[in-house]
Symmetry: C2
Subunit: 209 residues, 2 copies
């Protein structure tokens, strides 16, 4: 597929079929993940590829609990009052579906980042793992597989880490369910470049761009 | 270009020509950035696209100072003792070149993320900005433009924010110099998937993948 056709139609696919993903397809996705950059090319990333049914089911239970916690957060609690056919309402319905069915995705990848000794986690820790997460989702889309990026498993982080044997000095950065999509790929709803990009300093319109 | 040809040959290009990037090319890169996901699709991102020569020069000065700070960090100080033709040695030489020449890149993008009121910055804040940063670098590569992701400007964060008028509640997540490359694109040096991905739980070999 053409690069721009892939990258401009990768949207969060939260309704997934339970059909298995062939090994060679999954391998291609993970091979793409590791082409991403990381700070100092340290590649301090790890990916737990969960296919075992019992572990996926348990992840699904923990994720359902995490979803319940998320709904107590004001932004999301507020979204429940939006009309069901508004963008926020649709997103919430889709996210709720994932909240109830995550464990049914045939593959769930937990993306992790190991901290250097003595280094505290910060915003820029994410610069060494989320590019790889984005590569996973883009490669999946190129191969016709739906995915999304979720971090709310961290409401049950201790349990997730125990379930998958994650060491104490490793941070769980994202959970990425993968599966053939029930919906269709398409350009995601976004504000325009002109609304979020500035020329030379904050607040100055880009103009010709 | 084919998706996988782009994504598997995007490596950090730190030696860049000073030739200008046409507006339509830059627009396509930024249009790709905003297709990335963000938490709850809040799109709490902003991108300051710096083309003004004086501001780039000042960013270059600040970046040179930041590079000096980085060289005091043990990991990087240690890398200076590696042979010049080793992977670490080559990376260091390339990063040093950027340390001295960042301001000469024709475009420098500062990717920012605005925190929700009352929310503290964390690892997962990065999930709402680094996927967009990765999209910028991939789109650039698809269009023959080199880039890299650097976060060391944060050694001079207050000065960078002042120079570009960044508000207090906005975090600067990455600096991305863009320019036609002096070197060639190619598969980046990485450990294999088998070394960084596990099956079902930490430490268990993926086997068939």
């Amino acid at each position: 597929m053409d690069f721009f056709d892939v990258v401009t139609t990768q949207r969060a696919m939260r309704r997934l079929k339970t059909d298995a993903i062939p090994d060679d397809v999954l391998k291609k996705i993970m091979d793409t993940a590791i082409c991403a950059p990381s700070g100092g090319n340290r590649q301090n990333w790890s990916f737990v590829v969960v296919r075992d049914q019992a572990r996926r089911a348990r992840l699904g239970e923990l994720y359902r609990e995490a979803w319940g916690e998320l709904m107590k957060v004001p932004y999301y609690a507020g979204a429940t009052k939006e009309p069901a056919d508004s963008p926020a309402g649709k997103m919430l319905a889709s996210a709720r579906h994932l909240g109830e069915h995550l464990g049914e995705a045939p593959v769930i990848v937990l993306a992790c980042v190991t901290l250097d000794p003595g280094v505290r986690v910060s915003l820029t820790t994410g610069a060494s793992i989320y590019p790889a997460v984005q590569n996973i989702m883009l490669a999946a889309r190129a191969l016709g597989i739906g995915s999304c990026l979720t971090t709310i498993h961290r409401f049950r982080d201790a349990q997730v880490k125990e379930l998958l044997g994650i060491p104490a000095d490793v941070e769980t950065a994202a959970l990425i369910p993968l599966g053939y999509p029930l919906g269709r790929f398409g350009r995601p709803p976004r504000r325009s470049v002109g609304e979020v990009a500035f020329a030379d300093r904050w607040g100055r319109a880009l103009g010709s761009l």
